[in-house]
């Protein structure tokens, strides 16, 4: 006894604690540890006051500092059982702050809560209900459902209100409670006290938003309440409910349109007005009058300076946009002004609207306006603008763009904006356009040249993606910039390129090779021309000696790269220097003659390889490759590693003469060697390439057909239209397999005369989108919904069984099917969460990647394009894996528990239900005739709506 007095005398009070906390800004942690130590001692005290203060201090520390108080949960329960109200309240506060579903002492609170709910003090009862609604888990909810049910008819408003609201937690933790309490909840909408009505509507509003379909039958009740409601809070909830219901039932929209318009005109509260507008945008979009009124109101609101109203107005317009674009067009000026607003949220929202309104006719002006803002705003919004421009213009294969030179200039402008962080995307689009739109290539090459010659851009990290693309474009289409070929070479070899990342540097080197081959070929042609007719002594395009200059330039700049740490850079540098060595001009003139012929031959071959035109690759190309018979794609290929090694085959089969290798694939081999007696480096590589193509015909793009003298399959060249007969190769090259649509082949798109032809693959529109729209729905909600349907059906379904067994049996069947459907729709959703939304089968992807790697070996220059293609093929789980996922879902442990529980509890519930039904029949006036009775999805609402 004495010790407890001492304890309470010297105990640190709550005020002391808070003061100490405020003082101890620096040594806080030490102070905290000290106080916690004290609390740990004091909380074990036998003296109630000391214990309570200790718990109170601990709760404070938990709330303010986030100290752990799990360890004290038993003490919390002890304080909750104290008879004194003030103490009890502290215990309850601690419980509602620290307990959660997994807290082990929850079991101990069941009886305590039951006792307190039965207390004479209504505040004690309220406290217990409040606590239950915070901490209830399944067991607690099921144990106390009966108490809550009884309290909903309590004589005291305070208790009735709290009990009604607690239902929300009880229902979500224990859906079976709906069978017991749902009817009473609906009755509470008729309670004499508006607070209770409001509570009931709150609960119903929450339930409706989770699963609107089940609550359609209650629409007449909601309508009646909304008509007579005087409280804005209540009206907002009701209007919100209609927002969820009207999209499901068009007749309901017709019915409430008038009432909503009346509310919009009448109310002074902006919150209610906005709720009405939101409901109009959700479900009343085909009621012209309501939409008109809503848009008028929005216009008034947008004219005000309050940023809150502006933001909400923009949001509402965004919701209206898909159905009523005129509403947005009406407010265009205000929206554009909002781009300049000081608030990033408003800016972003107005950007969304502007992007939504872009069409083919106004894209030029809109993008020009946006570009002006790009230069004047802060970096973050600037990048958002850039990203929007890039994504909207490239949508669906640039369907909106008809003036490609203009768009290329926009891309160039974006690349020069200092804050731009989307260099990768700009680069990707430049390359993409160069590939797809032949008529604009000249402009793209010009832009690429401008980018490459500027040494200042080399150090700019975000722009390196653009430079990479520019280098590729310049190399691939160097023929389109003949006057600048030497200049390009200089730009590609400038000393600053050392600043670039290795991967991009490698692309630069490959471009150097292409440019050099172009220059050299041109020079040879000139010199041979010059021999024939002497009056043209010098080159048409390139000055005399430019070949030598180019060689000197390359040798001096590329030689150091032979020692590069990056393998790719090193390899390309070596290739380049090797080629130059082979072309080195001998001194005496006789050899010079021979040299020209040989060198020219080699260059021709290289030029031919580079001349093969590349085309875009379909995302689904891999998926369309038919698996050859006898190829087991499920098989693990690791064991085949050494056998499949291409080099090894060459070595083994090679014996002594390397040419005999080709005998293996002799059948139908149509390769014509250009210089059989003395195969040069280029010839050998071309031979390998052709041979590889022969082996893997199926996996080559149709564009490769060029090399076999088919007319080029590029319908982009409008002046030489290709007939399908000519384009379709006679061998196994199946065009439809590879993504180029045969339809497109026969009918080049010429709907718009103005617009240049854009090479488009047939399946690019259905790019796998992220399942952003897939709404997540918990399993719990489904239980809840089905329970509600059952509850609404409870009364009359039995009678119907007697009256018309067939009909109700059918209904039962369909309802089961409905629910089954719900479950099964979960599976793909769940699966898609795990997969990378890749387009093709996993094992095929693996095989495909190998094949593609081989293709790359033969055709290095395509690597930049196909690497992108590879990136798109992301991982996706195999069929087997998906099955495992589904199994996991269907054998959900919660499901099982649900089942067994029902067995045990069934008998009890049946009894209860019978009792209820009995009492219910006595209060027939309470039972609304319009209260729904059907379990199934779309119940008719005849009386109310017709």
């Amino acid at each position: 006894m004495a010790s407890s007095i001492m304890e309470s005398l010297f105990q640190r009070s709550l005020d002391d604690l808070v003061k100490g906390l405020r003082l101890q800004m620096i040594g806080e942690s030490r102070y905290l540890a000290k106080v916690l130590d004290e609390v740990k001692k004091e909380i074990n005290s036998t003296d109630a006051a000391t214990k309570v203060v200790a718990l109170q201090k601990l709760t404070y520390l938990h709330m303010l500092q986030g100290s752990d108080m799990e360890w004290a949960s038993f003490h919390v329960v002890q304080v909750m059982t104290m008879p004194k109200f003030a103490y009890k309240k502290i215990g309850y506060l601690a419980a509602s702050q620290s307990f959660h579903e997994e807290t082990d002492v929850l079991v101990l609170t069941t009886n305590l809560l039951r006792k307190d709910m039965g207390s004479k003090n209504e505040y004690e009862t309220g406290m217990a209900i409040e606590c239950l609604s915070r901490i209830a888990n399944r067991d607690l909810a099921s144990a106390l459902t009966q108490e809550i049910f009884t309290m909903m008819t309590s004589g005291r408003t305070f208790v009735r209100k709290k009990a009604t609201l607690a239902l929300l937690r009880v229902f979500s933790k224990y859906p079976d409670a709906i069978r017991v309490a749902f009817k009473r909840l609906v009755e509470k909408m008729d309670d004499p006290d508006p607070q209770v009505v409001s509570a009931a509507v709150s609960v119903l509003c929450e339930l409706t938003l989770r699963d609107p379909r089940s609550y359609l039958p209650l629409a007449p009740e909601f309508y009646r309440l909304l008509e007579s409601s005087t409280s804005n809070w209540l009206s907002i909830k009701l209007v919100k409910i209609f927002g969820a219901l009207t999209p499901l039932e068009p007749r309901l929209g017709r019915k409430i349109a008038g009432l909503l318009c009346e509310q919009m005109n009448k109310t002074m509260a902006k919150s209610l007005l906005f709720e009405c507008i939101r409901t109009v945008t959700l479900g009343l979009t085909d009621h012209a009058g309501a939409v008109k009124l809503a848009v008028d109101k929005l216009k008034e609101i947008m004219a005000q300076t309050d940023p809150n109203l502006k933001y909400l107005g923009l949001q509402a317009l965004a919701a209206l946009m898909p159905v009523h674009p005129w509403a947005v067009a009406d407010n265009k000026d205000t929206i554009v002004q909002c781009l300049n607003d000081g608030d990033p949220s408003i800016q972003r929202q107005s950007l969304v609207l502007i992007m939504g309104m872009i069409s083919e006719s106004n894209v030029t002006e809109t993008v020009q306006v946006l570009l002006q803002y790009v230069r004047s705003t802060d970096p973050i919004f600037c990048n958002q603008l850039i990203l929007s421009i890039l994504s909207i213009c490239s949508r669906a294969c640039y369907e909106m763009i008809s003036d490609f030179p203009w768009y290329v200039s926009v891309l160039a402008e974006i690349a020069h904006i200092p804050f731009c962080e989307h260099g990768e995307e700009v680069g990707r689009q430049l390359m993409d356009i160069a590939l797809r739109v032949e008529s604009v290539r000249r402009e793209v090459v010009k832009v690429a040249r401008d980018l490459l010659v500027d040494p200042a851009l080399l150090a700019c990290v975000p722009l390196q993606g653009v430079l990479c693309a520019a280098a590729w474009v310049a190399g691939e289409y160097v023929a389109l910039a003949p006057l600048g070929a030497f200049e390009l070479l200089e730009a590609l070899l400038q000393p600053g390129t050392r600043l670039l990342p290795m991967a991009i540097h490698a692309v630069y080197l490959q471009a150097v090779l292409k440019v050099f081959v172009f220059i050299a070929t041109a020079c040879y042609q000139d010199s041979s021309l010059g021999q024939q007719n002497n009056e043209h002594g010098s080159s048409q395009f390139l000055g005399e000696g430019s070949l030598e200059a180019a060689m000197v330039l390359i040798i001096s700049n590329v030689t150091p790269l032979v020692n590069s740490v990056n393998m790719e850079v090193q390899e390309r540098a070596c290739n380049l220097l090797g080629l130059l060595q082979a072309l080195e001009k001998p001194t005496n003139s006789e050899d010079g003659e021979r040299w020209r012929d040989e060198g020219f031959g080699a260059l021709e071959a290289l030029n031919e390889v580079f001349g093969i035109e590349l085309g875009p690759v379909s995302v689904h190309a891999q998926g369309r490759v038919v698996v050859p018979e006898g190829l087991d794609v499920e098989d693990n290929l690791d064991a085949l590693g050494p056998i499949g090694d291409y080099d090894e085959i060459l070595l083994e089969a090679g014996e002594k003469r390397p040419t005999s290798v080709y005998r293996e694939w002799d059948a139908g081999f149509v390769f014509t060697q250009q210089s059989n007696d003395d195969p040069s480096l280029a010839d050998a590589s071309a031979a390998l390439l052709a041979q590889h193509r022969h082996r893997h015909e199926n996996y080559y793009l149709p564009t490769d057909a060029v090399s076999r003298n088919y007319p080029p399959p590029h319908f982009s060249s409008a002046n030489t239209p290709t007939t399908p007969e000519a384009a379709a190769p006679s061998t196994s090259l199946d065009s439809s397999m590879l993504g180029e649509s045969s339809q497109l082949w026969t009918k080049p798109r010429q709907t718009k005369a103005r617009r240049p032809v854009v090479v488009k693959l047939d399946d690019e529109d259905d790019m796998p989108e992220l399942s952003a729209h897939a709404k997540k729905k918990g399993l719990k909600d489904e239980f809840l919904a089905s329970a509600i349907r059952d509850a609404l059906a409870t009364d009359e379904s039995k009678q119907r069984v007697d009256a018309n067994g067939l009909e109700s049996a059918h209904r039962g069947h369909s309802s089961r099917r409905h629910r089954h459907g719900q479950h099964s729709t979960k599976h793909p959703e769940n699966g898609s969460k795990h997969d990378g939304s890749g387009p093709s089968q996993p094992d095929k992807t693996l095989v495909g990647q190998r094949i593609r790697e081989e293709v790359h070996e033969g055709k290095k220059q395509t690597s930049d394009v196909s690497r992108k293609e590879q990136g798109r093929n992301k991982y996706r789980p195999s069929k087997h894996e998906i099955m495992v996922l589904e199994d996991g879902l269907s054998s959900n442990s919660e499901n099982e528990r649900e089942g067994t529980f029902e067995l045990k509890e069934n008998a009890r519930w049946k009894k209860k239900q019978q009792k209820q039904r009995h009492s219910h029949r006595q209060n027939q006036h309470h039972a609304r005739s319009s209260v729904p009775t059907q379990a199934d999805s779309v119940p008719p609402i005849p009386d109310f709506l017709l």
Binding site: L14, D15, V18, R22, Q56, T59, Y60, M63, L64, G66, D68, F85, A86, K89, I90, L93, S96, Q97, H100, E101, Y123, G126, E130, S133, K161, K162, L165, A166, L168, R169, Q195, S198, A199, S202, V203, E206, L209, N232, W233, I236, K240, A269, K270, S271, F274, E275, R278, P307, N308, K310, Y311, L312, G342, D343, P344, S345, I346
Partner: protein, 143 residues
Amino acid sequence: MTIRFVLLVNKQGQTRLAQYYEYLTIDERRALEGEIVRKCLARSENQCSFVEHRNYKIIYRRYASLFFLVGVDGEENELAILEFIHCVVETMDRYFGNVCELDIMFHLEKAHFMLEEMVMNGCIVETNKVNILTPIQLMDKSS
């Protein structure tokens, strides 16, 4: 669930009151509070009072040195929540008399009781100040 949490933060960004209507661990709460506070306190007076963060919509209002922040889900009515915040402040004003940070620090449990009366399960139940304060005043009398 409509209201997910109510936060009261001072100008320095220290949390003074936090009430969550869904269970988050202490670490999750701290991380969330840190992010939200950083976002909201950086905004100026003439910017709108709504911020989107993760899957929450944050509605905040500043009273002198105190920020009231309410996190709601997407379907909630923003203006109604602003009114609710105002109602909370008025209630506290009536009880404490021109409420300040110290009142809340020293009477944190009272502030929680008020919120408990006003919000249950994330739904706003009571906006009448007399009704909200009666049980608390009763308790003050009894102790």
